[in-house]
Symmetry: C2
Subunit: 361 residues, 2 copies
């Protein structure tokens, strides 16, 4: 393993699209989940950048977000050069964003530079385990023509994630275990998820993947050639946002999984030892904090009287009180308050969608 | 009936003590129920004064409240002369306050002037029916030596009010029906309350009673003579608050019901045709507003998703949303939010008492 080669040319590309639905009202369409500061007093996107420490320096961290979040993102990541943070003029799903990422990495590091598509709004513990597998994946991507996905070890039959079926192992002499990918599968129902877990051959698709710029460009050219022009234009022009402004309106909105990953054959999966949490709802949030004697998770100024197993979140200056209720989520923020049955927390997004928000693009 | 005599010398004395527990957080110890503005955009104490229109002019409305509420009360009642609104230095229950009321009425209108002890934080509908019975009660008190209580017709076996047992009728030629009082009874249990209703002889004790200053002073002298000095001092001195400051610390804290009313024999009860509501909790509040198709009573900016039979109150600039819950009270104010099972609304006072508030007096 030639570490120096991998590390010198490695870039992180954090996709920070948005989505404020499931943690509303703490997150909102105007302040999506990556800016939520519940953990360690810093936003999740800052966690995403900070956990690269020692592996990828800030000047090689790139962020692709929505145009309206560029200023917030630059404020959250003051150590990242402002030009590394670019905003999409409208939402075009992940295929277009990854094409822009390939172009940006090639413009900065050449065709042999390696890029890692990373998420903006997840927690990973221990972070050292994440850095170890990412370092190995960067090295493998640099010295092979494979696209390397990170596959998280499932600990329960989740129905909210896609899965990756692993084929035979491939030994690169790394601490991390790599395997060929047999196939990607969409979010399963519970019975199917249980069957996947029983085989021991399935990982969760964490939405993170690592590639040499030339490898990913070739994959687009083979499976979704309509994005090749975008890659070339971004690689050639100094103003990435101008390229997006010109090309996005006509480009297809599709996911990189559908456009490329499910069709490419040169994909490896790295098995990950870290616990991965997309904190995609209030119950997931609560798992990160201790409960009181009655099982209430309480953040901020809260009061309870004969109440148990609730999640109560209140901002600093405000008291939030719960009387005679169980299994309720109560979240108070300056602009809105949510009161929701714990087992209905996934329906918060339905409520938020029912509000009239301005359309994107 | 000599209307002119009764009306020329009539004073209203509104007792506005406090108590913010059952409507917390809309009411608080610092902003008790009489200042709540849910109904018609004006505080309940303003309703108490406004419904006297045509019967008692503002310059003959007196208010006895706690010293710390004097400024708020004057602001809520700008048409009442500021000197008519006095603050008790500490809480001494209703006997002392009524003694002060007797002294104030006598100082202004002489021994034959009539005073009506009225409540500060209740709704009465229709108000015309209230005015009619109050007018008759003022006239009867002026021309007799009776203390006249207002007895509200019970429409259910309430356990939260005291009751008045009526003896034989007394005809004063008024539209309202008057009867002698057989006895006052404390808040009953449900079975006892049902038995009271079955007799058809019981009224709810509304805590409002009307008397000539000389009559009420004589009742104190006969049954609670320790308060006579307070009456005389208030009647003689221009500065009522100075008298209270000097005499309250040593005075007994007891209710006028216990000290005088339950012992006096010259008491009449006027049967009232109005509906009387002390809006003493969130369920009582909700009854005054229409519900949506799912039975939710919603005040302010609210949102619901698959939720029914809730009471949701939100201040103007804030959205309060309820998802997947039934029979819950949610009240948002700028300083605090309450989330409570509807059938546990009476426990809100337990919660509020658990907070550390500075003691009074």
């Amino acid at each position: 393993m030639r570490k120096t080669m991998a590390r010198g040319d490695s870039y992180a590309v954090i996709l920070a699209g948005g989505g404020g639905e499931r943690l509303w009202p703490l997150s909102t369409p105007e302040r999506p989940k990556q800016f939520v500061e519940l953990f360690g007093g810093k936003p999740l996107i800052r966690h995403a950048a900070d956990r690269l420490a020692g592996l990828i320096p800030p000047e090689r961290i790139l962020v692709i977000t929505a145009a309206r979040f560029v200023a917030q993102t630059r404020a959250a990541l003051p150590m990242v050069p402002p030009a590394n943070i670019v905003g999409e003029p409208c939402r075009r799903d992940t295929a277009a964003a990854v094409a822009v990422a390939v172009g940006m990495v090639r413009a900065r590091g050449g065709a042999d530079a390696v890029g890692a598509i990373l998420t903006a709004d997840q927690l990973m513990t221990p972070e050292e385990a994440f850095r170890r597998v990412l370092g190995d994946a960067l090295a493998v991507a640099a010295r092979s023509d494979a696209i390397v996905t990170l596959g998280v070890e499932p600990d329960h039959p989740a129905t909210g994630f896609g899965y990756i079926a692993r084929a035979e192992k491939v030994d690169f002499g790394t601490a991390s275990e790599f395997a060929k990918v047999e196939r990607f599968v969409e979010k399963p129902d519970l019975e199917t998820a249980r069957a996947y877990l029983a085989t021991g051959r399935y990982s969760w698709n964490a939405g993170m993947f690592i590639w040499k710029a030339s490898t990913m460009a070739a994959a687009f050219a083979a499976h979704a050639p309509e994005f090749s022009g975008l890659i070339e234009a971004v690689a050639a022009a100094p103003d990435v946002e101008a390229v997006m402004a010109a090309r996005y309106p006509a480009i297809r909105a599709t996911s990189v999984d559908y456009a490329v990953m499910e069709k490419a054959t040169n994909i490896l999966v790295a098995r990950c030892a870290f616990t991965w949490d997309d904190v995609g709802g209030w119950n997931a949030i609560a798992a990160h904090f201790p409960a009181d004697a009655r099982g209430n998770v309480r953040l901020g100024k809260t009061a309870v009287y004969d109440a148990g197993n609730n999640i109560i979140v209140s901002d600093d200056a405000h008291v939030t009180a719960v009387v005679g209720l169980e299994n309720v989520v109560v979240v108070h923020t300056p602009h809105a308050t949510l009161v929701c049955a714990r087992d209905r927390a996934q329906d918060v997004k339905q409520l938020v969608r029912s509000f009239a928000f301005p359309p994107c693009g």
